[in-house]
């Protein structure tokens, strides 16, 4: 129990540090880390966290490409829903296709969704600002997701240590 408390405290401190320094590393969507932790702590001690991480990055990249296409090649909001639907559908279709290569579909979706959550408000209100924030948002979202994943891995390691 003491070990669990100790390791839990370490994870909590890591998370607190991450939240404190989210501005320095551009991870303003820090809360995504908690979602990642919640989603992937269930992978279990024998899950492939590295592949999950790569899947998250692929999802973010897909989101970034989708937003870039939406912002530069498609008509902009407000009359944009059909194009948004097309891009979203194509993106998700491609992610599903990619999943056959062994990438985790849930992680890719989470990456894609995380990125859209970060930039969609900007896309609808001020698409021209996307030129400045699209890439930095992708990095920030990726950091949040990966940090959450690492923390979930630590949580699993703690659980395993406690069970032993």
């Amino acid at each position: 129990m003491k070990r669990a408390i100790g390791l839990g405290l370490i994870v909590a401190i890591f998370f607190a540090i991450f939240v404190l320094f989210q501005g320095v590393i551009g991870a303003t969507a820090f809360y995504l880390a908690a979602i990642t932790m919640a989603m992937f702590a269930v992978i279990g001690p024998f899950g492939d966290y590295f592949k999950t991480g790569v899947s998250l990055l692929i999802g973010v990249a897909m989101g970034l490409v989708g937003v870039i296409i939406l912002a530069t090649k498609m008509p902009l909001p407000p009359d944009h829903l059909i194009y948004l639907a097309i891009v979203s559908a194509v993106s998700l279709f491609l992610l599903i296709l990619l999943s056959v290569t062994g990438m985790r579909i849930d992680a890719m979706f989470l990456g894609w969704a995380g990125y859209f959550a970060a930039v969609f408000a900007t896309y609808t209100s001020n698409p021209s600002a996307l030129g400045d924030i699209a890439l930095s948002a992708a990095i920030g979202v990726s950091v949040s997701l990966l940090v959450g994943l690492v923390l979930s891995l630590l949580v699993i390691k703690i659980a395993m240590a406690v069970n032993q």
């Binding site: 320095v24 991870a27 492939d48 966290y49 930095s136 990095i139 994943l149």
Partner: protein, 648 residues
């Protein structure tokens, strides 16, 4: 059979869909009735404060019906053009834009928004109507905005704005005399620059100020709202009322500096304000001012123009020259009088009475002569008289008196003693009778006359007696009186000489000052002449020059006021020209033929932020996370390598 049925069904479905879709997709090709072309020119400034890229956001509002194709010629080479809110194509061909617009059925107009980006090679050759240059300074040193991020110190941002549209134009207007005046003047296209909403986070900035200088730089307006200080300026670049070139200044103490991208808006407009129009009053005042300067000019006049200040000053100067000339003559004459009274070069010691001059040939003046005379009286006459009196007294003693007798005659005994002795010796003889009758009366007369000759009285003569006033004592007294008189004359002459003043070897008056004033007549004249020649005449010359300058100034002021009055009179024409220019400044890229256009410009400064660092750190974090995941997050291989027996 089955195949035929299937094809037939597909054909029927296609036809049905065509009937539904056709009204939507096929629209009649129409012609635009009216086009409004609103341009927003967005210029992004680089690290040097110069334009790095230009985008033009065009809003076309097309009135009419159906699908229309608009041709818009661009003045500049475009690298891209994109329809922002619809799928209608915008194509570029040889700097010509073809924009398709769809006016929905039932609507009076349709809107097309497209974004055109200028070829970067074009930017250097583009003359913006308003030049914008933003400079950043930290602690007094110029610094690029990209290097400001995270720094601390006294931040100064200077934004130079200059209207470059000035062109010489001939204006025609009617002046106050009702005459049509044509004048060539530089007329600008009026632009107003708005630097609004520049935001400064109060956690990072303090002591924020936006000072202004009249005629150069407008003062900014600061508003502190919820931890953010917003600074705004409005800079009208509308000559002649406002300068064509101005600048704004922002100063603040910055800490860990980050700045958003500031927007600088520029629009062509003749600004209308609530300012009260005092033009009529000012114009009337200028007219009065002109009259005033006209009177000054008339009063100043010219040296040859009677009843003017310059004429009077010229006459005064001539008069003073004459006074100075008169003083010279007066001085010369007084000098002669002065030399007549006393010759400074004369030496009494070497005076030769025969030549009437001293050893150097200098003749004495009156005072010198008086001195000589008094000297003669005192030194020669009076001693001579004393000696004469002494001789006469001796003679009187030698003669003696009738009472002198009884002494043995010798060299020291008187004649009376000797005669009495002789008379006693010849007593009773005729000789005694001769002595008594002839010698003794004569001796008595001699003794008496000697005393009279010495002291005055009645002289005994052979014929009787007579008064004798010319005694030696009387002469001595007269000489003494003469000496005293000569002394007084000398004193009077001395006062005259002193009053006239000393003269040096060159004949110039010696400077003598008494109580701050000239102490002699000659020096006073010299002083007066020096004052006239050295101060009054130059003063009058300066007065003439100054008056001439006043006259010239009055003429210049009249010309300036006349020009100003003309400017006032031409205000209407200038305002009309400005409004014409403003209405003509309706496009940057170009507009479709017959379109009504408006244009506005926005210049964007680069953002100063730590995002670049954050991205680097973020990338680092991603790599570290991946390394951790590779290290401890990979699935154990043995899970996928179970023995064949177990798999079964």
């Amino acid at each position: 059979m089955f195949r035929k049925t299937k094809i037939k069904k597909i054909f029927i479905l296609f036809m049905a869909l065509s009937l539904v879709i056709a009204p939507i997709t096929v629209n009649a090709q129409g012609n635009p009735e009216k086009i409004l072309d609103n341009e927003l020119v967005i210029s992004n400034l680089n690290d040097n404060g110069e334009i790095a890229s230009i985008q033009v956001l065009n809003h076309l509002r097309v009135s009419g019906k159906g699908n229309v194709t608009i041709e818009d010629k661009s003045k500049y080479k475009l690298s891209s053009a994109r329809n922002l809110y619809s799928t209608d194509k915008v194509t570029i061909q040889d700097n010509n834009l073809k924009i398709k617009a769809n006016i929905p059925a039932g609507d009076a107009f349709g809107d097309v928004y497209y974004l055109a980006e200028l070829d970067k090679k074009e930017i250097a050759s583009i003359d913006m109507p308003v030049k914008i240059k933003v400079e950043y300074f930290l602690d007094g040193n110029k610094i690029a905005p990209s290097k400001l991020s995270g720094k601390s110190g006294r931040l100064k941002i200077v934004c130079h704005v200059e209207n470059t549209t000035g062109e010489m134009k001939e204006l025609e207007f009617t002046d106050s005399n009702g005459e049509v005046v044509k004048t060539e003047t530089e007329v600008f296209t009026p632009y107003v620059v708005s630097l609004s909403g520049w935001e400064f986070d109060n956690r990072k900035f303090s002591n924020i100020s936006a000072p202004g200088i009249a005629g150069e730089s407008p003062e900014g307006v600061l508003i502190n709202v919820q931890g953010i200080t917003q600074v705004s300026w409005t800079v009208p670049l509308v000559p002649p009322k406002y300068p064509a070139s101005q600048y704004t200044v922002l100063e603040a103490d910055g800490k860990d500096i980050e700045l958003p991208s500031f927007k600088i808006g520029v629009i062509p407009i003749v600004p209308t304000t609530a300012e009260i129009d005092n033009l009529g009053t000012v114009q009337e005042s200028l007219g009065m001012l002109y009259d005033g300067f006209d009177q000054i000019e008339a009063g100043v006049g010219a040296p040859n123009k009677d009843q003017t200040l310059l004429f009077g000053l010229s006459s005064l100067k001539d008069g003073l020259h004459q006074v100075s000339g008169g003083l010279t003559t007066l001085k010369d004459n007084l000098k002669q009088i002065r030399f007549g009274l006393q010759n400074p070069a004369f030496e009494a010691v070497s005076y030769n009475a025969l030549s009437g001059a001293d050893a150097s040939g200098n003749t004495p003046g009156v005072k010198d002569a008086v001195g000589l005379l008094k000297s003669n009286v005192d030194e020669k006459f009076l001693p001579a008289f004393t000696a004469q009196k002494l001789v006469l007294s001796t003679l009187e003693t030698t003669v003696g008196t009738a009472a002198d007798k009884g002494q043995q005659p010798s060299l020291t005994t008187s004649l009376y003693n000797d005669v009495n002795m002789l008379k006693g010796a010849v007593a009773g003889t005729p000789a005694e009778q001769i002595i008594t009758g002839a010698i003794e009366p004569k001796l008595t007369a001699i003794a008496k006359n000697v005393a009279v000759f010495r002291d005055g009285g009645t002289l005994i003569t052979s014929g009787g007696t007579m008064d004798f006033p010319a005694s030696v004592s009387a002469l001595e007294l007269g000489a003494n009186l003469m000496s005293d008189s000569l002394k007084k004359v000398d004193q009077g002459l001395t006062i005259m000489v002193l009053g006239l003043g000393q003269v040096d070897a060159n004949g110039n008056p010696v400077k003598v000052m008494l109580n701050g004033s000239p102490g002699s007549l000659l020096y006073a004249l010299d002083y007066l002449q020096a004052a006239i020649d050295g101060q009054m005449v130059p003063g009058i010359v300066q007065l003439q020059d100054g008056t001439g300058q006043i006259g010239s100034g009055a003429v210049g002021a009249k010309e300036a006021i006349a020009a100003g009055l003309q400017t006032f009179e031409s205000v209407g024409a200038i305002v009309s020209a400005l409004e014409d220019n403003a209405s003509q400044a309706d496009t940057f890229l170009g507009k479709p033929e017959g379109a009504y256009g408006t244009v506005a410009y926005v210049f964007q400064t680069p953002e100063v932020s730590k995002d670049a660092n954050a991205m680097l750190y973020g990338l680092g974090a991603i790599i570290i996370a991946l390394i951790i995941l590779v290290a401890i997050g990979r699935a154990p291989k043995e899970l996928f390598e179970a023995p064949v027996s177990e798999q079964a």
